[in-house]
């Protein structure tokens, strides 16, 4: 379905959420705004009675002040020319005594506001409470009333003060609240009204669904310009201007705009933008409001680029950018929604022991075998599969603006719900490796197997100081590889990650380990058909893989010989970069440097030596050259190293080995 039709449908499917404020984790409120409405922050709340008499007023701060206000097309895109909102607005429009307190104004904002409100009151869509507001505002005493109430403050000349400057006599008095909520002077305060009518529980006009609906009907009835709508295909009142502020409240970019005074966009066959396309007011409002709501609710924004994924049956879905750990945690939350987590934590003995030390948590035993991990991923994704929703579909949309003012849909996919989940599962079970760089939700270092988050891929490929611009570009390029069939990973990203992983000397150990495991995941995905696994592959005779194994053995041998206290990098690690470029020559250097350690370990080195011989024997003679290694050597390195440590751990478990080896393991895992 076309993007706007899709969004309009999303609006209609979530009609029950319209006008309801929800709170995000960070405390910010968002809502699916009704048609013909927008949001504003009100500073002053005026309470009236049913007859249009002033009763009281309050100052509202930013959190309390978020208000859904009725809005016309003209008002929505007002700039310097005064165009009033229909019901709530700034003092400039609402106060009849504005000139008296603030000086001259351009145009006739108050009269325009009054005329607009009167038209609503005179129509058949009027409401008792709106009438009351009209009656009150008509008197033109708003600022005077607010000054009398102590909300607004005047200076000696009887004008509104620009800023708070306590007179010497009242120095002790506190700064009035109105100056705390306003960024500029008092005349820019935004006013909203509440009308208290005995027997009516909802005094707040901006929360009154009935008033909202009446305005929608009133405004729709005033639209007379009809045309064919390119979204619905019906003949409906058309929108002249379309909404901005889609990504955030300060965003002026529009998805639909018309600017052929400068660029060759539609002129030629068409003379006016209207000839080129027309969109109905309802479709535009619903679609844009739904998009804003989705972005607020579940969008990810990086450097202005917005990624949003939603389903038409259920909004919440696993994100393509999550790593496997987040995916599993989200699925778990879905599962035990009301389970008391605090209770669990109280009895988690490990939680106390590990909090202070930074060392790695032991990996869950089953986690490293590929089958067990694939099961985990499947379980996590299956949590989002529901019966009887085979026809549900999901939409992935990426928005970005190249220039301020115009926004573009830079990626759009409309997929079947099941297909989407299948592809996510495929991604997490093909671009995977064992990672140790993440903390879980209880803030413990954890080992997880699966796909890394796209953001982490960006840091692995471009370094931890990669700019947001780079990260967002990479995220958009990786996205198709996750959710489309048969897309290969971009070569440059894999190569870049492999190159960075081959240069451990330039990084802190934890950073290198992170880069290494992510590079392994990418290489594994690239060589998907070969079916490599975290577990050591002793069968393969791939040249790069074998060289990687040899490097790992050399590393482990030297580490053991150095002992736990010695933190310096082994020869294998130091020569890694050169080794990847010229393995034949560099190996002879590493091997000769290894001799003292072999000598130091004496008979303890026998196992490693025989292992080296074994691996070396598998290498074909003609492969022992200086041809640069492919990314596969990282897999060989990781798997061999992992194997050497875990096999010792297993020995430890049977009680036959020395403690030194176990500690070695810790040194490696330490981040």
């Amino acid at each position: 379905m076309s993007w706007l039709a899709n969004l309009t449908q999303t609006y209609n499917n979530n009609i029950l959420s319209v006008g309801r404020f929800e709170t995000k984790k960070n405390g910010r409120e968002y809502a699916l705004i009704p048609v013909s409405h927008t949001t504003q922050t009100a500073h002053i709340e005026v309470h009236l009675d049913g007859k249009g008499n002033f009763s009281t007023a309050y100052v509202r701060d930013k959190v309390e002040g978020s208000t859904i206000i009725p809005c016309t097309e003209a008002a929505a895109s007002r700039t310097s020319a005064p165009v009033p909102y229909p019901l709530f607005d700034k003092l400039l429009y609402v106060a009849g005594d504005f000139v008296q307190f603030c000086g001259d104004v351009k145009g006739t904002p108050y009269e325009d506001y009054l005329a607009q409100l009167k038209a609503w009151c005179d129509s058949s869509y009027s409401h008792e409470k709106v009438q009351s507001v009209y009656e009150y505002v008509r008197k033109g005493t708003l600022i005077a009333d607010l000054v009398a109430e102590g909300i607004l403050h005047v200076d000696e000349q009887g004008k509104l003060r620009d800023k708070w400057a306590p007179a010497p006599s009242q120095e002790a008095s506190e700064k009035p609240p109105i100056f705390n909520v306003l960024a500029s002077d008092q005349s820019s305060a935004f006013v909203r009204f509440a009308v208290n009518i005995p027997g009516d529980p909802e005094a707040r006009l901006w929360r009154d669904i009935e008033v909202q609906q009446l305005f929608v009907q009133f405004y729709e009835s005033s639209l007379v310009d009809m045309d064919i709508c390119y979204v619905t295909g019906e003949i409906l009142p058309v929108a002249d201007k379309h909404t901005s502020r889609i990504r955030h409240s300060g965003d002026k970019s529009k998805l639909i705009s018309a600017n052929d005074s400068v660029g060759f966009t539609y002129r030629g066959r068409f003379r006016t933008s209207r000839e080129a396309a027309s969109v109905s007011y309802m479709a535009s409002q619903k679609g844009h409001n739904a998009l804003k709501w989705l972005i607020d609710r579940q969008g990810i924004t990086i450097d202005g680029k917005v990624f949003v994924v939603w389903g038409n049956q259920r909004l919440d879905l696993p994100e393509p950018h999550q790593d496997a750990l987040e995916l599993r945690e989200a699925a778990q939350e879905l599962e035990d929604y009301d389970e008391d987590r605090e209770f669990e934590e109280d009895f988690d003995v490990d939680a106390y022991g590990d909090n202070s030390s930074n060392s790695g948590n032991p990996a869950p035993a089953g986690d490293t075998t590929s089958k067990a991990f694939a099961r985990e991923i499947k379980k996590a994704i299956d949590g989002y599969r529901y019966d009887g929703e085979h026809y549900a579909h999901i939409t992935i949309m990426v928005l970005d603006a190249a220039t301020p003012g115009r926004m573009s849909i830079t990626y759009y996919q409309d997929l079947n719900h099941e297909d989407y989940l299948d592809r996510l599962e495929k991604w997490h079970t093909s671009c995977y490796w064992q990672h140790r760089y993440r903390k879980d939700k209880d803030n413990h270092w954890t080992t997880f197997t699966g796909a890394p988050a796209t953001r982490d891929i960006a840091f692995a490929a471009y370094g931890p100081r990669a700019s947001d611009k780079l990260v967002k570009g990479l995220m958009e390029r990786i996205l198709p590889c996750i959710i489309e069939v048969g897309r290969e990973l971009p070569r440059d990203i894999v190569r870049s990650a492999v190159q960075r992983a081959s240069n451990p000397v330039g990084m802190e150990t934890w950073e290198w380990e992170k880069t290494l495991s992510i590079a392994c995941a990418l290489v594994n995905k690239e060589n998907e058909k070969e079916g490599f696994d975290v577990g050591l592959n002793t069968e393969t005779t791939d040249r790069s893989y074998l060289f990687g194994r040899m490097l790992a053995i050399a590393d482990v041998l030297e580490r053991r010989a150095l002992g736990r206290e010695e933190k310096r990098a082994s020869n294998a690690i130091r020569y890694m970069n050169a080794f990847a470029q010229r393995p034949g020559r560099t190996w002879s250097i590493i091997q000769s440097n290894l001799q003292p350690y072999q000598a130091k370990m004496g008979t303890d080195a026998r196992y490693y030596n025989s292992l080296l011989d074994e691996v070396g024997a598998m290498l074909n003679l003609e492969d022992y050259t200086d041809k640069p290694l492919t990314g596969l050597y990282l897999l060989g390195f990781y798997s061999q190293r992992n194997d050497l440590y875990t096999s010792k751990k297993a020995k430890e478990a049977t009680g036959t080995s020395d403690t030194q080896q176990g500690e070695d393991n810790d040194t490696q895992e330490e981040n």
């Binding site: 064919i228 295909g233 998805l255 639909i256 080129a276 990426v398 190249a402 573009s408």
Partner: protein, 240 residues
């Protein structure tokens, strides 16, 4: 079917601009080609004012994927601006189309030799079209090859129905309608098992008028007749 051609058209990118996004200049492609875009491709393969091409069906062979590119469109004053165009990526379509004689071209009645036009059209498909082919916009170069409509596997063979909603169908020009008016047709596009069957242009009920126009006059002086062209291409060989 008589007068029918079948062909495959494919390319790395396609941009069938959604008119809503065109107004501002950040072009975004429709998910599937419009009737008019395919008609343009058929006309690039072979066209003469004597005939009107009708696109019957299109089969979407590859999955619908999008990719955006940064563009530097030229402005009237000669400068540049920056925009993101979103293209369809790696597309392949199978198209079935047929021609009829243009009833509003009585002046070209002498050029109506169905058999010869059909043979020339089939030959033009075999050689990849008489003029260059592009998918929606000029920068999306495409290639035409003969094919059997429906052959091979398609990405949407097993998808019973996809509704693309209201889309532009095409444009009405004076030389094909007989009215001195330009019009835009809209329709509700639906795909069944990967195949979109287009409504006939005259069956489209959603039509917007967008201005006046007239048709160009053709005669023997500015157009080569089908007999001449047929002789030139087939040199009297049997073409059946």
């Amino acid at each position: 079917m008589r007068n029918q051609i079948e062909f495959k058209v494919y390319g790395n990118y396609a941009l069938f601009t959604d008119p809503m996004t065109k107004l501002g200049g950040e072009k975004f492609s429709y998910q599937v080609p419009t009737y008019q875009a395919l008609k343009g491709i058929v006309e690039s393969i072979y066209w003469k004012p004597t005939i009107i091409w009708f696109v019957d069906e299109v089969r979407i062979v590859k999955p619908i994927q999008t990719e955006s590119k940064g563009m530097r469109p030229i402005e009237y004053n000669g400068g540049n601006t920056l925009a993101y165009y979103t293209y369809l990526k790696d597309v392949c379509y199978q198209v079935k189309a047929h021609f009829r004689f243009n009833p509003h071209r009585e002046d070209l009645a002498y050029d109506r030799n169905e058999h010869k036009h059909h043979n020339i059209a089939k030959r033009a498909v075999n050689v990849g079209g008489r003029r260059d082919i592009f998918l929606g916009t000029r920068e999306c170069q495409a290639y035409v090859e003969p094919c059997l409509f429906g052959e091979g596997e398609g990405a949407y063979d097993k998808v019973p129905e996809i509704d693309f909603g209201t889309m532009v169908h095409g444009m009405n020009y004076p030389d094909e309608t007989g009215r001195n008016e330009r019009e835009v047709r809209l329709w509700r596009a639906k795909m069944y098992n990967g195949i979109i069957r287009f409504d006939r242009p005259e069956e489209c009920t959603l039509v917007r008028s967008i201005g006046e126009g007239t048709s160009k006059a053709f005669h023997t002086d500015n157009m080569k007749s089908v007999d001449e062209l047929h002789d030139e291409w087939f040199e009297g060989r049997d073409t059946v």
